[in-house]
Symmetry: C2
Subunit: 350 residues, 2 copies
């Protein structure tokens, strides 16, 4: 599953004024939330308008996801990178909205594929309205996403977004093919998360430079930032699945384990594991034969080999790369906010 955004009421986009700067997490997303408040309000309006349809089921399902507490980090990235590049127009609003629609469609389909019952602490759309509606409304949101981006009239932006949509789907298929195989290599795992998660972060960040007509160098820097941030995001999410708290995750600890999903904490534990431990991973993740205490044993094995810490160390490394990629930009509040997003993502996992 694509990493869901953590649920945190104090960080709700729908009410950014409630972000409490005396809170420890104030150094995280709050700066970005405050700076993009006006843009995100425009995006919110556009999301609501474009999720509309005379076919009842569509706005019902779409709103369920839209209202479910996602922080809209991807469209915020487009807003922030556009402003970082000095953009004064409004073309980034529909582009950021189409990014969020693309993401929302992916979540709907992900939940069907993963047979997930919970997302962001709420029942999934597929549990409430069925798999059929989730597949079709996901397709509708993809179509709307596509319509919105076409409306901007930028072929450059369209290339980026169409490319991202194919790469994301390819990553999801790669992940499906790797399900139940704890022997996959770290390289294969990285290829999956690069495609299924980082690709949309890359597109979101790159669009900021594209709407601003900035030179290749800045565009590349923002792509690097997006890619590394996206990897951090997914690594932390994968680490939390074994060592997080349900309230932070917005889903249950062990979901990846139950779904037979092979993530870095498992790959690292498998590689270092004894024969008996490898057999355990094969039985549980490989064959889907999961008994009552197996999740605890999985957690114990990731603890034994400190794979949570190792996964977080990689995340910090990618986070550093994300930070470095912004060095070519002048210091200002936007750059500062984008740097803090990296901290925010990493701190979730600590």
């Amino acid at each position: 599953m694509t990493a869901p955004e953590p649920v945190s009421k104090s960080l709700s986009v729908n009410n950014p004024s409630s972000a409490n700067s005396s809170n420890n997490s104030a150094t995280g997303l709050d700066k970005l939330l405050e700076l993009t408040k006006e843009d995100m309000s425009r995006i919110n309006d556009l999301i609501l308008a474009e999720a509309h349809s005379s076919v009842d089921m569509i706005p019902k399902l779409a709103k369920h996801l839209i209202d479910s507490g996602g922080k809209r980090i991807r469209p915020m990235l487009t807003c922030a990178t556009a402003r970082l590049c000095g953009y004064q127009g409004l073309d980034h609003i529909p582009l950021a909205t189409s990014i969020e629609f693309l993401h929302t469609a992916t979540l709907l389909h992900d939940d069907v594929v993963d047979e997930s019952d919970m997302r962001r602490g709420k029942k999934t759309a597929r549990l409430l309205w069925g798999n059929q509606a989730s597949v079709l409304v996901g397709d509708y949101l993809l179509g709307q996403s596509f319509k919105i981006m076409v409306s901007v009239g930028s072929l450059e932006a369209l290339k980026i977004l169409s490319n991202a949509s194919a790469i994301i789907a390819e990553g999801e298929v790669m992940q499906l093919a790797a399900t139940n195989n704890p022997e996959i290599s770290e390289d294969d795992y990285m290829a999956v998360i690069n495609s299924k998660t980082a690709a949309l972060f890359v597109a979101a960040a790159e669009l900021g430079a594209v709407v601003s007509n900035r030179p290749e160098k800045e565009r590349d820097a923002l792509k690097q930032y997006g890619e590394n941030l996206g990897i951090v995001f997914q690594l932390v999410d994968d680490a939390l699945d074994y060592h997080g708290k349900a309230a932070e995750l917005g889903k249950d600890v062990g979901d990846d384990f139950r779904e037979g999903k092979i993530t870095l904490p498992v790959i690292l534990a498998y590689q270092q594991g004894t024969d008996q431990e490898q057999k355990f991973w094969q039985k549980t993740l490989g064959e889907g034969n999961i008994e009552e205490n197996d999740l605890q044993q999985a957690i114990d094995l990731t603890t034994k080999y400190a794979t949570h810490e190792e996964t977080m160390a990689r995340a910090r490394n990618f986070g550093e790369k994300a930070r470095i990629s912004l060095e070519i930009f002048p210091d200002n509040q936007w750059k500062d906010a984008l740097l803090h997003v990296v901290d925010f993502c990493i701190e979730r996992g600590n």
Copy 2:
């Protein structure tokens, strides 16, 4: 389900030279097949190239559908309308390919939603590789469809295609909402088939005028042609589900009945039915309580009220509208071929 194309070896696109002009069906698709042979060969190459991916599962599933005997009537329409408009270039090739990808993605998702086991006389991808792979590979094909159309660089074409993709998905959701409700009106049914089937025929035909930069009047005429032909196509398919032969359908007679799908032959029989007959439709289609002889009884009821004939009469009426819409074009082999497509679609149902 979106109307599948009939299976007929003599009409195979992959081997159009086998089309036998002494055959009765030679007045149907054969003219179009012969005329578009070169263009369709280019499209075939592009389809194979763009269905490629290093992720094994993607070309495997895509090829299963691509090779399964669909006649590619939609991309052929784009080729023929472009040539009818005097177009000499090659931009219609990728556009027609993206139309076929969009259609193929819809079929993959349709089969998941309908829980279909057979399509065009072959096992469905979802039966062979599972629903999960079908959903995700469908998304990949949507992404590829989108990439291909962006590569042409025509914002006008992108508007048409993005719009069509949202309308098709909306139609599929409408159909899902109407499932199991034999009381839906004929208007609602027409709205469903206009969206889920005719919209892509409209786009396919309109693109011919768009790549050729033809005036509004010709563009509108081709849209009318596409819309009416698409409606014919779906009406005939719905009629055949109760009175066709499995070999012609490429699926089993009664699939719509078993899936609780409400189509015109049922709506007309329900409207004229006695209380007891309406109760029969409610029990079978409404509640999904289908016993051994119920399909035969359903067929008998559509026979009693001649709803097959009535559905075909509507189809002929829409076919006539499709023909009339081409009157503004000069007589030539392309127009002739497009007129014969209408006959071909209607003759399937007779």
